[in-house]
């Protein structure tokens, strides 16, 4: 059975350092769709144990008001990932983000331990979802097999810093160096019917550049973006939520196609635009996203 939250709205996924109690105690007030509680890069090597204790009690005791609780675990090339999985599952994390994923086998390795932990801690089997961060050229090239690796997998996320390092270049701000990975990943995700998220934008003084990059990845088809600061949330939500005008048009398209189909008419115009059945799924998707974001209350 497909997990009911597999396709939930994930426009904004905000990173938070598990080592910092002040950061993880109330991030829901900023209204992200998901938080990503980080056990990996943000946590110093000698504080991994402390971060796990903080994570466990935060998951058990803090009410995050429906915000999805994703935990980024340490990579499979470290001694930490097995205990990371145990604490995530015992605490009841919604989703585990696998760092440095390079193959379907990596996802299955994590999945085996997650299942074992669900049995150990009496959690429903299959209740813990997975997402994969692609951080290398090999990971990006294997995007399709990764997307198809597990029923638990909700999607893939680009990790631009490590990826550009592997590509032997740097983040330039133009997006040129990320274009191939972005295009490849979004196609793989769509082919496998999972979600896809863009990398973080770390220059907090350049909010216009951030908005421009967010508009770009929206046009490319991404579902959302990883974030490093609460200030970025509203920008992403505005760009990723259908406007009132788009919602009204999508509603008209769906109603007209349903009605014309019944009358045997295949092509017609709505507000001066030629419409046929090919527009149906897109219009439905616009309405579904607007509904999930609280901007559409209709019944289509």
């Amino acid at each position: 059975m497909i997990h009911p939250n597999k396709k939930r709205l994930r426009r904004s996924m905000m990173f938070l350092n598990c080592q910092k109690p002040g950061l993880i105690k109330d991030p829901y007030i900023y209204g992200p769709d998901s938080i990503m509680l980080d056990l990996e890069d943000a946590v110093a090597e000698n504080q991994k144990d402390a971060a796990r204790f903080s994570l466990f009690h935060a998951l058990k005791e803090i009410d995050y008001h429906g915000v999805e609780r994703v935990v980024r675990i340490n990579g499979l090339d470290t001694p930490h990932w097995k205990e990371d999985i145990r604490v995530c599952v015992a605490g009841g994390a919604d989703t585990i983000r696998i760092a440095k994923t390079e193959s379907a086998a990596d996802v299955r390795t994590v999945e085996e331990d997650v299942l074992a932990a669900e049995r150990e801690f009496s959690r429903p089997e299959g209740s813990t979802l997975l997402m994969a961060a692609l951080e290398s050229c090999l990971g990006v090239l294997n995007a399709l097999e990764i997307c198809r690796s597990s029923e638990r997998l909700i999607g893939i996320a680009l990790s631009g810093g490590d990826y550009t390092k592997d590509l032997q270049t740097t983040i330039t701000g133009t997006g040129d160096e990320l274009m191939g990975a972005r295009q490849h990943m979004i196609m793989a995700a769509r082919a496998a019917k999972v979600q896809c998220w863009d990398t973080v934008f770390t220059n907090l003084d350049d909010m216009e550049g951030f908005a421009e990059e967010t508009r770009l990845i929206k046009r490319m088809g991404f579902d959302g973006k990883s974030l490093v600061n609460p200030r970025q949330i509203a920008v992403v939500h505005e760009i990723f939520t259908p406007s009132e005008k788009e919602v009204i048009f999508a509603e008209k398209v769906v109603r007209e196609i349903d009605e014309k189909k019944a009358r045997g008419i295949g092509v017609f115009t709505v507000d001066g635009k030629m419409i046929d059945i090919a527009f149906y799924d897109g219009a439905k998707r616009t309405l579904a996203m607007a509904k999930a974001a609280g901007r559409y209350k209709g019944d289509l």
């Binding site: 105690k25 402390a50 466990f56 058990k60 005791e61 803090i62 604490v87």
Partner: protein, 99 residues
Amino acid sequence: MEIKKTAVAGTLESSDAQVTVEPGSDGIELLVESSVIHQYGRRIREVVLETLERLGVKNARVAVLDKGALDCTLKARVECAVYRSNGMNENLPWGGVIR
């Protein structure tokens, strides 16, 4: 559990607490310093003592420097310090004595 060696967990940042545990021989000796000692001193002591009891720590010298930590943070720091004093960081009893 026995406190085998001195161990520290946590920081002096806002919303955190720094907990130090040392081997002891005469029950629990607890010292608490907090900027909110008058409002929450009793509660901090309760949380720390309950956590130590759950972990089965009978003898220890414990110092807590609190910077406005929530209960869940205090528990996390005490547990971390106790497990560090035993050199344990794998296969921990999540949901058992850690809860």
